[in-house]
Amino acid sequence: MAILTYREALNRAMVEEMEKDPSIYLMGEEVGHYQGAYKVSQGMLDKFGEERVIDTPISENGFAGIGVGSAMVGLRPIIEFMTWNFSLVAIDQIINSAAKMNYMSGGQFPMPIVFRGAGGAGGRLGAQHSQAFESWYAHCPGLKVVCPATPKDAYGLLKSSIRDNNPTIFIESEVLYGSKGEVPEQEYTIPLGLGEIKRKGTDITLITWSRALGFAEEAASILEKEGISVEIVDLRSLRPLDENLIYESVKKTNRAVVVEEGWPVAGFGAQIAYLIQKNAFAYLDHPVERVTQMDVPMSYAANLERMSLPNATRVADTIREMLQ
């Protein structure tokens, strides 16, 4: 096993896929000459040339549309948004074009495109640069939504996303780019829609994805010392969703809490809570709880940012209350 950073794992996945399939290209702001705003595409311009690693002007709507149009005629674009905050000016192309091209054409136009880039909150970037948008995209049928938390998952899931014939929203965690983890040397993929138990436990199921996995693991370690055994389900992709993994775990622990980086109202955690009460109601000893970002835009002030984001303490507190 090699130890790679999250960004290196993503880079390796893209490079390997592009070496195999000449119809794949990477497009976005600063992906080429600058080597990527977050250096995810480091070295790729040299390897593949300007025809396949393509710098764009600042025009998210435009190049998202270029990606969609080119995917209609057989290319397999990887469109990088510098961060997902800027995807909002391209959301028309993502939702109105990419997500329903196959459906509204009666199955004539599959859409093998990956939209990827940095997402999530933190780093004192303020209200416009600290946002988790997976719930927005997961709302829309026709899209797949992938949110890896570890280098190993990032690699395997990105490869599956690139090979998928559907538009994939691949949200990388900005704060995890430098995080390290073991990545098998052998090539592998992780099917979209397959979650993973990241920690086994018996008292409560903690459901999470992406960066919030870190809060969950920290909380679980704290609680372990108090004799509370937490099971952690990392969904890894929200669409498709590994529902059975959730129910199997809840059947064992009889309690569930969702931890997510995004806002609470109409957040993805609300959907999970609904599904659990609908499909595993008989197994519940407590209402499903959620730990989310506070229902406010992100503040710049360090203390307010800290307060706004979910963290291990809040997760642990919530679980203690649920077990009382």
Binding site: Y25, E51, T56, P57, S59, N61, G62, F63, A64, G65, I66, G67, V68, G69, S70, A71, M72, V73, G74, L75, V89, D92, Q93, N96, S97, M101, N102, Y103, M104, S105, G106, G107, Q108, F109, P110, M111, P112, P141, G142, K144, R163, N165, N166
Partner: protein, 328 residues
């Protein structure tokens, strides 16, 4: 009316074919309007009546390997591409035999084989899709050209500017055709365009431009041809503004009270169908022959109507189909 008389038998037969296509579009849409008014067609129905010479002339400049991207006003473009009126009418009727299996409707005709890359419903959003298709042609080193139709209303949205700029910096093989019918729904161009001539916006992107009247079908073809050839030579995109007029409202639900009768009548005198007919007669085609052609087309449309009406609705099992593409 200054008429250009077709000079030889080849240009007569060419004009005859253009006339046939324009009549086909006109009659198709008249039938659609009728079906709409008795509730057989739902949703929005944006008719192309009056603009036929633009679609027919432009698409005549293409070869089968070229691509067409359209708006919600897509019937004329699809028919000009040679698509069979039967599955088109069936699509309007929401039938499983429709060109998009009934999932698309009036605004979303798609035909992959014909390189008819869809009618699209978000004003201007499809402009960058067209650039993307052209991008793919260049990427794959194929010499296909993409043409993209849109209205002057679309020229005011961000995606127009982004799409044109990207196409220009990368010299993509695409021709942007602005069908300026002078109204975006109820908004006349003078209330929406700071500079009235859309084609001069090409200067902002160092792009070739052209501006023509859209009532003379062969002239449209000739001008679009120049742009298509430029694109095919790798010399980049062109923005062409074609001045035209829609005789109907924006859609079937629009009585178009924002314009005067006089204005409409003046434009109707420039009806591209009448013009082509007149030119054919000057070129030696007998009125009876043209009448016979009209009648044949009428029969063809009636057959399409009948086909649409008697086709089954899509199976309910289709509801969940095609949300995602089947696995490879």
């Amino acid at each position: 009316m200054v008429s250009s008389i077709p000079k030889d038998s080849q240009s007569v037969s060419e004009l005859k074919e253009f006339y046939r296509q324009m009549v086909l579009i006109r009659k198709f849409e008249e039938a659609a309007a009728k079906a709409y008014s008795v509730g057989k067609i739902g949703g929005f129905l944006h008719l192309y009546i009056g603009q036929e010479a633009v679609g027919v002339g432009s698409i005549a400049a293409l070869t089968p390997k070229d691509y067409i991207v359209s708006t919600y006003r897509d019937h004329g473009h699809a028919l000009a591409r040679g698509l069979n009126p039967k599955p088109l009418m069936a699509e309007l009727f929401g039938k499983g035999t429709g060109i998009s299996k009934g999932n698309g409707g009036s605004m979303h005709f798609f035909d992959r084989n014909a390189h008819f890359m869809g009618g699209h419903g978000i004003v201007g959003g499809h402009i960058s899709l067209a650039a993307g298709i052209a991008f793919a042609s260049k990427f794959k080193k194929e010499d296909s050209v993409t043409i993209c139709f849109f209205g002057e209303g679309a020229a005011n949205i961000g995606s127009f500017h982004e799409g044109l700029n990207l196409a220009a910096i990368w010299k993509l093989p695409v021709v942007f055709i602005c069908e300026n019918n002078h109204y975006a729904m109820g908004t006349p161009e003078y209330r929406a365009l700071a500079v009235k001539d859309v084609s001069v916006r090409a200067y902002a992107y160092d792009m070739a431009r052209d501006h023509i009247e859209g009532d003379e079908v062969r002239k449209v073809r000739d001008h679009v041809q120049v742009a298509v050839e430029r694109a095919r030579r790798g010399e980049g995109p062109t923005l062409i503004e074609v001045s035209t007029y829609r005789f109907r409202g924006h859609s079937m639900s629009d009585p178009a009270k924002y314009r005067t009768k006089e204005e409409l009548e003046a434009y109707k005198k420039k009806d591209p169908l009448m013009r082509a007919r007149h030119e054919l007669e000057l070129g030696g085609i007998k009125t009876e022959e043209l009448d016979k052609m009209d009648l044949e087309i009428q029969t063809q449309i009636e057959e399409a109507y009948e086909y649409a009406e008697t086709s089954p609705e899509p199976p309910l099992s289709q509801l969940h189909k095609h949300v995602y593409a089947e696995d490879k």
